[in-house]
């Protein structure tokens, strides 16, 4: 049925208002990052000002921003890959056998406060000699990414008709081969979404890196706090850093938004 024009207009107007509410703080952040230290604390706040790249120049020039970004990328990609490698087969097994405790077990870490892990993990990784290596961060971040992969993929695997997997069995696939040749290609949209979410949540997580990283492996998000320091609180610089840190997740979201909506919703509804 065709919706009346005024109703459609009403929807657009409401979306517009919500859009402004959602985007205004983001816009303000980006705007502030182009303000000089004087403009950024000016009151009343100004929309019209002489934009400057100083904050970015300063940020990239005087802090190891690029190094931190590289660390973040290594840790994030590493933990996302590890999360997928561990999570995909596990989700497949849970979907096949309907035995759900392994999936629940991987969620246990999400029920505890993150600070609970800091002291014991430090002790543990020190014993393993992994403190200050990327592995400590990749492994701990995989604790975050793996459940995401499992829970996003579970409904996708569940949605594959059992008969297709049985046909593969009759055709001569073992379980491992049926995952690789049949199931995985069929959940590729879910896999994209799972990877994106795993990437984003790993990129955004700061608590573990605070303790398990050192000056050479520190991630961007853990370093972000350093932009608020005594004697030098630099709101413009802070906003420039915030903007740059937020950029990768936002770009990813934009790039895959169509998949994200279909894939995530499917996952979330059934998970």
């Amino acid at each position: 049925m065709e919706r009346p024009a005024w109703l459609r207009l009403l929807t657009v107007v409401q979306l517009g208002i919500i859009g402004i509410v959602i985007l205004a703080p983001l816009g303000w952040m980006v705007l502030s990052s182009f303000k000089s230290s004087q403009d950024v604390t000016a009151y009343p706040p100004s929309l019209i000002f002489a934009p400057t790249l100083d904050n970015y120049v300063h940020l990239l020039g005087t802090t190891p921003f690029i190094d931190y970004a590289r660390n973040s990328l290594i840790v994030t990609i590493g933990s996302t890959v590890l999360g997928i490698v561990l999570g995909v087969p596990s989700a497949y097994v849970v979907s096949l056998t309907r035995i759900s405790w392994p999936a629940l077990l991987t969620l246990a870490a999400r029920m505890a406060p993150g600070t609970l892990f800091l002291l014991p993990w430090y002790v543990m990784f020190r014993e393993l000699g992994l403190i200050g290596s990327y592995w400590a961060l990749i492994l701990t971040h995989a604790v975050i990414t793996m459940p995401i992969v499992i829970w996003v993929l579970l409904p996708s695997f569940d949605a594959i008709p059992r008969s297709v997997l049985e046909a593969a069995q009759v055709d001569g696939c073992g379980i491992i081969r049926s995952l690789w040749r049949i199931a995985l290609p069929l959940v590729s949209a879910g896999l994209v979404v799972a990877s994106i979410l795993a990437f984003v949540f790993s990129w955004n997580y700061f608590l573990f890196a605070l303790v398990l990283a050192n000056s050479e492996t520190k991630t961007l998000i853990a370093a972000a706090f350093n932009f608020v320091g005594e004697g030098s609180t630099d709101w413009g610089g802070l906003m420039a850093a915030a903007t740059l840190i937020a950029l990768p997740p936002l770009l990813l979201a934009a790039a895959v938004q169509r998949w994200l909506i279909s894939g995530l919703t499917m996952g979330a509804v059934k998970g």
Binding site: Q38, L210, S215, K218, E230
Partner: protein, 431 residues
Amino acid sequence: MPASTAVRALTLAALVAARVPQAQAADFDWTKYKGTTITFLANNNAVGNAVAKHKAEFEKLTGMTVKVDTYQEQQMRQRLVTVLNARSNEVDVFMTLVSREGAQFAGAGWYTDLGAFKADASPDYDFAGLSPVLVQAATIDGKLTSIPTNVEGPVIYYRKDVFAKCGVAFPTALDAFPDAAKAIKACNPGMTPFVSRGLRDALAYTYSNFVHNMGGRYMRDGKSDLCSAPNKAALGLYAGLLKEYGPPGVVNYTFNQISSLYRTGRAAIAFESTNEFPAMMEGGAREADTAIAVLPPGPGGSVPTGLGWGLSISPFSTKRAPAWYLVQWATSPAMQAELARDGIAAPRAKIAEDPDYKAFIAAKPIRQEWQNAVDAIARTGSSEIGFPIVANPASRGPIGQSVDEVLLAAKTVDQACADADRSLDALIAGQ
């Protein structure tokens, strides 16, 4: 420190002779640990950043490599505690606030006694030149926990132009403060008359000066003493000033909001750390119209709050001797003169005599005022911020809470101090 007397005499003599920065005594081998890498866990404040900024000079001098791992204070502490708790050798040198965590860390054995290393100092390392007050504060159970790196304390930054315009004289007594603030509010309604820390866990730093100047102290005979007359007066005065004359939302204010507010010309008086001097002056707008003073005296006299960050060596470090080289270099007279020019008040009175530094101070009158305030702090300061107990960090909470309760008009002064006494007595008893 009887053992160090001789060293002190020696180095004193040496210092007089050699005041040129980076001058090295020929008989001290800075390159002894060439090739060693040491890790320095630094707080992201002026002190930590300044050391980090000059680290290349140290590396050139010694042939050692320094890895500086910088965090904002809270995160640094989080990491430090984790590292030390695991007895890890990951960190060699770290920054510490003895006035805060000193007793706890010393009790845990988390400090290397630096007294033993003093002998291995460069001849121009004037140990005796370090502020005796701060060295005393850094000595716990006869062990030197850390070398003072800076001296700092809250001071009054105020707008002399506004005072002049409103015909108000800078108050000479602490209890005259509200009147001055009131007069400024009346003649300049758009401006915040007074701002200082309102954030619960941060305000003990500024509030303690009020307590001491009013003649109060935190503890008496092993009991919390917050309901004594001077303490109640301090509580009423500090909370009242912020409540009546502070900015909206002052209850969340700490150094960064305060310096932003003052720098942009929206506060007439700011009571904040000497370390914030560069931040307050940034952009140059405040250099001409600002004056700096210590908090006016009260019934208890003038007892500015003074403390300093210190450099410590981890007892779990496997490179304690090389680590000492970084500590002594960073706290050497030459380096401290450099740091002073970055706005870090040195815990060495003699720095003031350094000609370069003198020229630097003389370049702007405001710098001299700042230096005077720092001197006063170093001379007469008290580092009692919060309770002189091992659980000092935890004791700051109830103090801040009592101020905020009065500030937010949630409780009267009597109720607030009584409640705080109860929590603190429990804390003292629980040790």
